[in-house]
Amino acid sequence: MPSLFSRTRSGPAYPSHTKERALPFLLVAPTVAVLLALSIYPLIYAVKVSLQTEAGTAWTLQNFARLLRDDFFQAALAHTLVYAIIALTVEFLLGLGLAVLLNREMRGRSFFRAALLVPMMLPPVVVGVVWRLMLNPTFGAVNGTLQGFGANTEALTWTAHPTLAFASVILVDIWQWTPFMFLILLAGLQAIPQEPYEAALIDGSSPWQTFRHVTLPLLKPAILIALLLRTMDLLRVFDQIFILTEGGPGSATETISLYIHRTAFRFGDFGYAAAMSFVLLLLTNFISLAYIRLLKGQEAA
């Protein structure tokens, strides 16, 4: 039977070049489709919800106007920023210190490294459980140990006291995420070749000078990346605080993510929650772009 699709060449049917050319698009298309449907569409949906009245009948800017008058939102914003700045600073300094300590060959290094990374790998919920156990005012390990040394721990109510609670959630973040800084900075340190150090040694530079003039500049890209990734995570922090304090007592430890969650899922005010989401998104984008600019400048130099 003569076929419309008869080929000039015998042998196996090979795809034509044009068909092959479609292949990369076929490979990428499903992923793009999934992301459009589950990342981009929700975003657009959120824009719509945030710009409409609750009944969805009219367009309005009232959700955004409300942001300016909402003390809870402003407090949440302040909490988030203070939380991020303190945690970032402490985690960076501790992480750098640990990375420098463990950079040189030492006995048991791979064990120490693995052990130090444990907190970072834990499910955030487990971190919450661990620290509720540690910080419980009456029978937690922290106060229990302090009492064992004869201290009076009556005032140390941790998560029940506004200031202490805020300190507690930061402390927990530091506990969990210093390992991340440590890991990235250690990798950065180990990627630095030996020659600059040997040259500095021959030039008679002191250990501090070497650190200041050789290590830090060469480590800068790794530092920026570690700070960038941590900053983005800190600005969106939710899980551990939710378990540890639920934003309380009162709203003393409520960050933006927690407040958005409360607005949407306690009060059912999705429009306002979406509006706040955009502020968070903008804030995250703005800060990460600043980092990326720094990084690019770094690469150009």
Partner: protein, 283 residues
């Protein structure tokens, strides 16, 4: 003079060990404390001063959590959701990564698409959580495993694409060129030559996806409502925030939620830096 130098050096080394051991204790003691609570009878749990080492162990809390209460089911849900979403993300993401790494697309689409895919990963989860909740409720998918699988697949996709793209880029192009000259099709070369070569990277990426899905909390919290679809983290969180907290049960569930993750993390140690920075820092 030289003696003094050697003295300081030795003191420095001791100091270094002291600091490192302190850091390790700081990292591990809280976790260890939770493990002891999960194994302690109630009397020992609340002892003052705390009993760190010596107590009579019991497995009662584990039996309580996983046999008496719903934690067994949460565990199963977590496992199903993690495995299925990881498989989906791995299949879609690996193909996309291969397309981006190995084909020349017009209009600089290779880089642009890769960056766009990465950027979707950078959204704070709460930003998409609200609209996704509304969407899933419109689709009648709230409180189903399907909704979690779908969301986790989308959440892991950028990660898979970005990781696998890096691994593909490390395989010399000549491998596929040789395979094609030898008569294999593009997908045949991917299956027979490239995938076997990136299999360690693929395995590491899979483990990362499992970890991410297993640990995920916010989406699970918003999209699930009943025992029908609750994952282990949501199950634990639900009990922790109640007034009457059963510490033993909580800790037992926490230990069980933690153990697979620690094993997985150990398995991908070599790729940890890469996985956590999505290749931004080569480890």
């Amino acid at each position: 003079m030289r003696e003094g130098g050697r003295g300081t050096e030795a003191r420095g080394r001791v100091m270094k060990y002291v600091l490192v051991v302190l850091a390790v204790l700081w990292a591990l003691l809280p976790v260890y404390w939770m493990m002891t609570i999960s194994l302690k009878h109630e009397v020992d749990q609340f002892a003052v001063p705390p009993k760190w080492f010596v107590f009579k162990p019991t497995l009662a809390h584990y039996a309580d959590a996983f046999l008496e209460r719903s934690f067994g089911q949460y565990l199963l849900t977590s496992a199903i959701v993690a495995v299925v979403s990881t498989l989906c993300a791995l299949i879609l993401g690996t193909l996309a990564a291969y397309g981006l790494a190995r084909f020349r697309l017009p209009a600089k689409l290779n880089t642009r698409l890769a960056l766009w895919i990465l950027s979707t990963r950078m959204f704070p989860p709460i930003v998409t959580a609200v609209p996704l909740f509304l969407l899933m409720s419109d689709l009648n998918l709230l409180d189903t495993l399907a909704s979690l699988v779908i969301v986790y697949t989308a959440f892991n996709l950028p990660f898979v694409v970005w990781m696998m793209r890096g691994f593909f880029n490390e395989i010399p192009r000549e491998m596929e060129e040789a395979a094609r000259v030898d008569g294999d099709s593009r997908l045949g070369a991917l299956r027979r030559v490239v995938l076997p070569l990136v299999s360690p990277g693929l395995a590491a990426t899979a483990v990362f996806c499992l970890i991410i899905s297993w640990n995920e909390f916010l989406f699970a919290l918003t999209l699930t409502q009943t025992d029908r679809s609750m994952t282990l983290p949501v199950g634990i969180a639900g009990r922790v925030t109640q007034y009457e907290i059963e510490w033993g049960v909580m800790s037992a569930a926490g230990v069980v939620a933690m153990i697979p993750i620690l094993i997985f993390a150990l398995a991908v140690q070599r790729y940890l830096v890469r996985g956590l920075s999505m290749g931004a820092v080569k480890g």
